[in-house]
Amino acid sequence: MRIRAAVSAALASAGILLVGWQSGVHGADTRSAIAAAATGNQASGTGTTGSSGAASSESAASSATTGGSGTTGNSGATGASGAAGAAAKAGGTYDGDVVQTRFGTVQVQITVKAGQVTDVTALKLTDAEGRSVQISNYAAPVLRDEVLQAQSADVQTVGGATVTSDAYLTSLQAALDAANL
């Protein structure tokens, strides 16, 4: 009888862990798909015309939506600013996508002068919980410096602030696309 209890307990526990692991892996797949889309975006975004940049940013937004991981891109706004972006290479500010994360929404704004990103401002940062605010306040300046130096979204995410960094860089990429950089 003790054997019956031990075997069923082991099977039940293994089953529960497997289900948890599988749903976790599934979530991670969709997350990395978004990341891949964002990176591809950035590769095609550098040195190409505005229309292709807008298209790829739209595909990134749609893949994020179909991924269903809770990240939705504001593709309408991107499209509009992307259309304007072709003529606005000289300068101005561009808003990135509003990216939803479980810790709150993230949106960045870039300031462009003469084809160079001169500033990144976080319009919204993860703030759902006390911990998130702390992480955001710590991660945002680090990311800003890295982005200004690299002049792209292709920078290291900040350790311990993965979700915030990913959302930050996704929004940033959309802003770069909009600015046609």
Partner: protein, 488 residues
């Protein structure tokens, strides 16, 4: 006459009853009861392990593994898993101590508390690991040393100071429950500190839901965690507060009579309403609280020493416990006044017919541990000749309620042995008096069919341990052994 009262088996063979074995209708009725009880225990085991697995699965489902890619992330992840598992164990501990009939009826109250004690240290270690690993992991992510990270968590994050207090309380509760520490303090001190568990759990809850990203608003994980926390709290409130208060008001027990049985041993008779619902299974114990000045804050776990007697149609009746002066608490009971109101919780435990698994039954009691058998013998079903009672004491006077038990054995056809005399100081493993032990008697000499019987043992824990070992040596399986500890 079916009953034999023998000093040892050597002086004669117990007579068998004239009317043969138990009726077929009766045979095997306890086998299915036993199977159901084992199934229940197994279901509980599986549920407990599943809940632990589920706590880890919550984290896995949240993509916990992907977050653990950097060293800092890995340490933080371990800390989170330790916290989840630790909290799950704490909830299991609370449920084990909640006196839930489903749990107590499956494994027995004392076994449930034994599991509860076993989980104490693991859960504390997990919670300590949780705090340390999180401080290190977060600290590494932010470039802080663990101490300043801990300070930052305390100061900056809402609810975290409560979590620090909670951890300190958990440490206090577990340390005072260590056997070595517990012996140095009176029971009441330990009990008061143990009540802090509720404070520890309550202060730990806010940070789980506000700081723990896993339980962010809108996640199914949050609902699951809230669900198990609320269910545990509700079970505690119902079974440890509402039920006892209701029972006390329903039964309206008052002390009727206190009569001396032997030096330092008294019968306490109480009368009250609806005593029938306190009856039935014999041997189960109640927690008594005598509402007199200086006594009301003591609780006493005692079994009934006689089945309740109903006198009126409204369930008005009388019940009885037998108490020996074992310590400061029970000494005062010898001087209880008539009319003292009594609060009652119970019945608890499994030292009753509910534990039966075979048609034959053997009851082995020593000293004050004899008294629950007085009630069990009254009600537990057996055919004449299928029960054996062994009573152990230093002298005949120490075989408390021996006369009543002899009379019951006569009526019901049980074999009775009185085993009196001091033990053999040379063999501490023996449960027999010195003379019987030297003569080479064993348990099977008194009860040849013991391997096919339920064996109930009640007495001082050292002696009871010896009896249990003797029974195991005679081929009695664990499931047939029923032992009630009464020395806590």
């Amino acid at each position: 006459m079916n009953t034999q009262l023998l000093p040892s088996p050597g002086t004669g063979t117990p007579m068998r009853p004239a009317h043969g074995p138990a009726p077929v209708r009766e045979a095997g009725r306890f086998a299915s009861q036993h199977r159901r009880r084992l199934l229940r225990a197994d279901v509980l085991t599986v549920t407990a392990w599943s809940s632990l697995a589920a706590a880890v699965a919550l984290w896995l489902a949240d993509g916990g593994l992907t977050a653990a890619s950097s060293p800092a992330g890995m340490i933080t992840a371990l800390g989170i898993v330790a916290g989840l598992a630790g909290m799950d164990l704490v909830l299991l501990m609370l449920l084990l101590a909640a006196r839930i009939p489903f749990i107590d009826g499956a494994v027995g109250h004392d076994r449930a508390l034994e599991f509860h004690r076993k989980l104490g240290k693991p859960s504390l270690y997990l919670l300590l690991a949780h705090g340390l690993l999180i401080a290190v992991g977060y600290g590494m992510a932010e470039g802080l040393d663990p101490v300043s990270e801990a300070v930052a968590l305390w100061v900056l994050i809402p609810d975290m100071w409560l979590a620090f207090i909670s951890l300190a309380l958990f440490i206090a509760v577990v340390v005072t429950s260590l056997v070595a520490v517990r012996r140095r303090f009176p029971y009441e001190f330990w009990y008061a500190v143990h009540l802090l568990t509720y404070g520890a759990v309550l202060t730990s809850l806010p940070h789980q839901f506000s700081v723990g990203g896993l339980f962010a608003v809108g996640t199914w994980q949050r609902w699951y965690w809230l669900g198990i926390c609320i269910a545990t709290g509700a079970a505690l409130l119902y079974y440890r507060v509402i039920q006892p208060v209701r029972a006390t008001f329903r039964h309206q027990l008052t002390v009727e009579r206190v009569t001396s049985v032997a030096p330092g041993v008294v019968n306490i008779e109480m009368s009250g309403l609806q005593v029938g619902s306190l009856a039935g299974n014999g041997g189960r114990f109640f927690i008594w609280r005598f509402l007199a000045p200086g006594l009301w804050w003591h609780t006493h776990p005692f079994s009934l020493s006689a089945e309740p007697v109903r006198k009126g149609p409204d369930g008005h009746g009388r019940l009885r416990i037998t108490v020996r002066d074992l310590g400061r608490g029970s000494a005062q009971l010898l001087r209880l006044r008539r009319g003292t109101k009594v609060a009652v919780e119970g019945p608890y435990g499994l030292f009753s017919s509910a534990a039966r698994s075979r048609d034959r039954v053997v009851m082995i009691g020593a000293g004050i541990g004899i008294t629950p058998f007085r009630a069990l013998l009254e009600t537990t079903p057996f055919a004449p000749g299928q029960a054996t009672v062994l009573l152990r004491g230093h002298s005949n006077q120490e075989l408390y309620l021996g006369e009543e038990i002899l009379e019951l054995c006569r009526q019901r056809g049980a074999t009775l042995f009185h085993l009196t005399g001091g033990r053999d100081p040379a063999s501490p493993d023996s449960w027999l008096p010195a003379s019987e032990h030297r003569a080479g008697y064993a348990l099977a000499d008194y009860v040849p069919e013991i391997a096919h019987a339920d064996v109930y043992v009640c007495g001082p824990s050292r002696w009871a341990g010896n009896v249990l070992n003797a029974a195991r040596a005679s081929g009695v399986k664990e499931g047939q052994l029923h032992h009630e500890r009464f020395d806590w």
